[in-house]
């Protein structure tokens, strides 16, 4: 087994009196791709936000390479540079060009050489097929293009772990594929990723391990084949059924 990169240990997350995550524990190994699925409101997005310290937790601990992630910590920005995150909404900075969106954080936060960063950014844009849009502004891009830029922006920080929060949920159907392809490529190149998604076919193809979350708890966890084809619990069974459609043609009225 490879080294453990991220350890989530029995975390509790409450909004006022509403417990959203209730004792979640799992490990993420280097190079592993975890897909988190579950019904709306089950706490998937909150889980990612906790891992990136955008939300404080009320119990348990999250450790990245042995260091505890704590929103009140002064070393937070150092830790965050190791975790890249892509959100559902197109969250590029509207006042900056595509290239500047990508290079500003490596330059200002990591204090890297601007020339080097730019070279790397252009190479990454090339890989996602957007080299020619480097000088465009976000408002000139389609939703799919914006998400690909957002992925490149996260990548350019050279993070150890990438978090994807329903990145295709707000996209038009014809643009979903181009974004998923980029993610498949990343997985193939050995990136460690935690992906929250509703694209079940994609989940099956990309996941090393699937975590099924319901009502703030891990209900089922396992390799994609056994999860999608032989779910162990009723809840997982019921959830997966919502993605199946029985043919209604030729049925008696």
């Amino acid at each position: 087994m490879k080294d453990i990169l991220l350890k989530v240990d029995n975390i509790i997350k409450r909004f006022d009196n509403n417990t959203v995550l209730n004792g979640i524990s799992f490990d993420v190994h280097k190079g592993e791709v975890i897909v988190v699925v579950g019904p709306s409101g089950c706490g998937k997005s909150t889980l990612l936000r906790c891992i990136n310290a955008l939300e404080p937790i009320q119990g348990g601990s999250i450790t990245l390479e042995g260091e505890t992630i704590n929103p009140a910590d002064k070393n937070l920005t150092a830790l965050r540079q190791k975790v890249g995150m892509v959100f559902q909404s197109y969250d590029l900075f509207p006042h900056l060009s595509v290239l500047r969106n990508i290079t500003i954080a490596p330059e200002k936060v990591q204090k890297r050489n601007p020339k080097e960063v730019e070279k790397e950014a252009l190479a990454l844009l090339e890989r996602v097929g957007l080299r020619d849009r480097a000088n465009s502004f976000p408002r000139e891009l389609s939703g799919g293009q914006k998400q690909r830029v957002a992925i490149v922006r996260a990548l350019c920080m050279n993070p150890d772990l990438l978090l994807f929060d329903e990145v295709t949920a707000a996209l038009d159907p014809e643009m979903v594929r181009e974004v998923l392809d980029v993610m498949l490529n990343l997985a193939a190149s050995g990136r460690t990723m935690i992906i929250v998604t509703h694209e079940m076919q994609f989940a099956k193809a990309i996941a090393d391990r699937v975590i099924f979350l319901d009502a703030g708890q891990i209900v089922e966890e396992g390799d994609p084949i056994s999860f999608f084809e032989h779910p162990q619990t009723d809840r997982a069974q019921k959830f997966l059924n919502t993605f199946e459609f029985e043919s209604v043609k030729n049925h008696e009225k």
Partner: protein, 225 residues
């Protein structure tokens, strides 16, 4: 060509007097603008704070200044300060005070609006990239706020310039008052002078505000977000 009374413009020092009047209007509005903008930015940022006391105080200030006609404020500060406290300030000083109070209130509301219009995702994306609070404001939030703010604040500046026509009520002789004086002084010899003089005043206001409006349009196109 019909008699527009334009000859009256060139009589004696009339043109110079009109320009002088414009100078008074511009001086008062520009001093007020230069003070209002930084103050408005500070107050606008304070208005987005969660502190309910600060919020309430600023809200009251904004509403009071907005509800009161500028004319009332001018009377209040010119005559009211003398009546209440025995302080005798000049009409020009009273005008600057009133226009600064008004400009600061309006500017703070514009800044508040621009700040809350920035989606929370912008803050979160910046945080997720490892920016600290200062860097988030410096590189992400303030540049976006300024872009939203520029056309709005330039609109405010032109409104302030135009509203200086009220200060004649507290004895400050600005361009409109000079115009009325010229028209009245010539009402026997050139009854049509009103048209020519108002035309001239229109042009003067236009040339004072036009470059500012053009700058706004240029920046708006350049910085469309």
């Amino acid at each position: 060509m019909p008699d527009l009374g334009l000859d009256v413009l060139l009589k004696g020092k009339n043109l110079a007097r009109l320009l002088g009047g414009l100078g008074v209007a511009m001086r008062i509005s520009m001093i007020a603008v230069v003070i209002s903008i930084p103050l408005g930015i500070i107050l606008g940022a304070l208005m987005t704070w969660k502190n309910p006391v600060i919020k309430a105080i600023l809200r009251v200030y904004l509403e009071v200044i907005r509800i009161m006609p500028q004319m009332v404020l001018l009377f209040l500060f010119y005559f009211g300060t003398t009546r209440a406290f025995g302080i005798d300030i000049s009409g020009e000083m009273a005008s600057i005070v009133v226009f600064t109070l008004w400009g600061t209130a309006e500017m703070s509301d514009l800044v508040r609006g621009a700040l809350i219009a920035i989606p929370v995702h912008q803050y979160e994306s910046a945080e997720a990239l490892g920016f600290n609070r200062m860097q988030t404001y410096r590189y992400i939030i303030i540049p976006q706020t300024v872009r939203r703010l520029i056309p709005l604040s330039i609109n405010l500046i032109t409104r302030m310039i135009k509203t200086t026509s009220l200060i004649l009520m507290i004895g400050v002789v600005e361009v409109l008052k000079v115009g009325q004086q010229i028209i009245e002084a010539n009402r026997m010899v050139s009854p049509n002078a009103a048209f020519g003089i108002y035309l001239a005043i229109f042009m003067l206001y236009f040339f004072a505000c036009w470059p500012i409006s053009m700058l706004a349009r240029y920046l708006e196109n350049r910085w469309r977000v």
